[in-house]
Point group: C2
Chain length 425, copies 2
């Protein structure tokens, strides 16, 4: 008996264990069976994947996706100049229409480079939710709260967050979830950090915050409070296993202990940290301290794309040279950070190709010069692949891209729209 929502990925090679020629049956939004005995009769849709590698969709745990609108703005500047003179003046002009268009563009780009889930912090987030609903992506959406230590602003920011939870949380077959997202310790009052954490705990939501991105930020906090960022956040009790700290570049050994104890996840953003010259996050130390490290692209202005394949390679290479040890971040670890650990950070049952998991799956082409020979699928995926090698993307059991063609989005129209709209900025 064939269900209309079932998909068979036939004769594929799993990157994780290099098992050649197995098939995957997807029923509704989950992986139902993995076996080489499955046949075309078992599903309503069959994808021949004999020339393709199969792996979990990549999970981007820190983004500001609508910043695609600002691609190419303010390159090669100091962080403060970049923010004050380039980014913030343009962000002040954002509106619903722009954020919707920018979000759609980002999702076209993310799907085309193999990302299935992203964790976003920005403004006009109901527009990003609308785009996620249409694109078919799995999304964690947070309104970026910034009160600049002002009482009135704090209240209105918390209200925005509350409204987003009410309107968007658990929508689109639960693909869309809201993450409570205070911007950072240096832009949010202690009260905002605490009250927003209470809101997150009450609704069982992810708490997403920038922490320890730059040395200046850490030095400033030390002067003000005689505490490092994670010491401070721990002191006000906002850290737990539903907390995702983006960046974590300047984390000390003492802070590592806190992160481990509280089960905090770190979202590492190597390209952004390199481009803005923020520093090199101590990823190998996080791993030694059993801290859950995941991967993110950050916004497009500090990257300048959303390609998680490139991010994955950059992360691995950067840690090797920074520790002068080529044996750190081996391919399996690198892939886990980009898939499994992201799922753990976001508390979703995805990030692995195994029975019962959410069917968030990508198929990667192998018949390409730079993917030849295919000695080790893991190695080729981490070190050789380009984001454009992704052939097919399935999210929540639905095909959102097949043979490089987006199913739910009109790529050409989206590109035209953003090309025009970006002129307003």
């Amino acid at each position: 008996m064939v269900e209309t929502t079932s998909i068979l990925i036939k004769d594929t090679t799993l990157v994780s264990d290099s098992i050649q020629k197995t098939s995957i049956l997807i029923q509704d939004n989950k992986i139902e069976e993995i076996s080489n005995k499955l046949t075309d009769n078992d599903a309503s849709k069959v994808i021949n994947a004999s020339d393709k590698l199969c792996m979990p969709g990549l999970i981007n745990t820190h983004s500001h996706v609508a910043m695609t609108l600002l691609r190419g703005v303010g390159d090669d500047q100091e962080l403060q100049t970049w923010l004050n003179e380039y980014i913030w003046p343009k962000e002040a002009k954002l509106n619903d229409e722009l954020v919707y268009a920018g979000s759609l563009l980002a999702m076209a780009e993310m799907i085309k480079t193999g990302t299935t889930t992203f964790n976003d912090m920005y403004f006009f987030m109901e527009q990003t939710a609308k785009a996620a609903e249409e694109s078919g992506m799995r999304a964690f959406l947070g309104y970026g709260m910034i009160d600049l230590f002002d009482d009135e602003k704090r209240k209105s920011e918390l209200n925005e967050c509350k409204k987003l939870i009410k309107n968007c949380h658990n929508t689109a077959n639960n693909r869309i979830k809201v993450a409570v997202s205070p911007h950072a310790p240096y832009t949010c009052s202690e009260e905002l950090l605490i009250e927003s954490k209470q809101m997150a705990r009450k609704n069982d939501l992810i708490y997403h915050i920038h922490v320890s991105e730059t040395k200046t930020e850490v030095d400033d906090l030390k002067k003000q409070r005689n505490q490092t960022p994670f010491e401070y956040l721990n002191d006000i009790d906002v850290l737990d296993d539903k907390t995702i700290a983006a960046h974590g570049v300047w984390t000390t050994d003492d802070e590592m202990k806190i992160l481990n104890q509280k089960g905090v996840s770190v979202s590492h953003n190597p390209s952004s940290n390199m481009k803005l010259a923020s520093g090199i996050a101590p990823i190998t130390k996080y791993l030694e301290n059993d801290i859950n490290v995941s991967l993110g692209t950050d916004g497009v202005s500090s990257n300048n794309n959303l390609d998680m394949f490139s991010e994955m390679k950059t992360m691995a290479l950067l840690q090797k040279v920074n520790t002068l040890n080529p044996k750190v971040l081996k391919t399996k670890t690198t892939i886990d950070i980009t898939t499994k650990n992201g799922a753990k950070a976001l508390n979703i049952d995805a990030g692995e190709i195994s029975v019962g998991k959410l069917a968030d799956i990508i198929l990667v082409d192998t018949k390409l010069p730079h993917m030849t020979p295919l000695r080790s699928p893991e190695s080729n995926v981490v070190y050789s692949a380009l984001g454009s090698d992704v052939n097919t993307v399935i999210i929540d059991g639905k095909i959102v891209m097949e043979d490089r063609k987006l199913t739910n989005l009109n790529e050409k129209e989206i590109i035209e729209d953003v090309s025009q709209l970006a002129k307003q900025l």
Copy 2:
């Protein structure tokens, strides 16, 4: 009057100066005219490039292209383990057939990611020459001489080099040139370094050598000779403006002065240096010292691809984070290193889109999500583009790829061949 060998690139956008909508006329192997008044009648072949960015082909100044055969071999290992246990035992099995197939595969990959010229050091180089002749690429080919301080071996290595010069130099309409390529100061005797330099000078050839790749190499030489690598090479008078030193990771301030005085070019290989944890080359210091820095991928086993777009971004980001200064390696400098400086290092009249230069040109697609919006062509090319965005490649006035289809090579067959042949290794 229309010549059969003329090509018009119509209505394109030059990356270098963001001039919108100009056209380029190619006559034989050179750029004949750049003007917005050119019409379809001016050439026998017209390429509509109104949606494309036009830039010089990328120049890879340090490669071992047939190492595509070893893609995915020995990842994440210490350099000595990597060489002794993985690379060298497999390289011992190389032969004409393997190197030819591996070279063709590399050229398919290089063309598809926008490289038009490469400077290669390896073995069985007549096979790589054959592949370069067929693919249409511009190639500098060097037999990697290693005598391990043995007199007999030195003589036979020099003979190999002499034979290569005789058989391949200035072949294929001068697209193929031989570079005299002693492997490194730690694998070559002083006599070999000197005698091969004499051979290079006599024939007016590029001298291509690995220098100062690892700290161990530098420390060892200091113990043996009480000199740093470039001090030693200067002392034996092999440095000049026809010398390309690959890597140059551990170069000291004193050595910078030597390189500047002698006009030596450095080939920077960021991905390889990161993956093997060799260190971070002081690129910003080289530039401050007016030393010609160019870019290379190194071999595929330490990268693991030949994508110069990815290499370009990695280089820029790595220098920013390493100096903690986001203003270094701005987009123009980064592009120059990857094009113009490579041409200077190799002493060819290419690397720029201007009248009289060799017609080595690539067209890059812009109607892609990750290339939208197109505020700054330079920024999009350096930070956003993927190698797979290259649409059309012209080398020496001939189209070698059009709309992603290779003109001279059978991509599918090459992939099949290497997939099979690599099993021998």
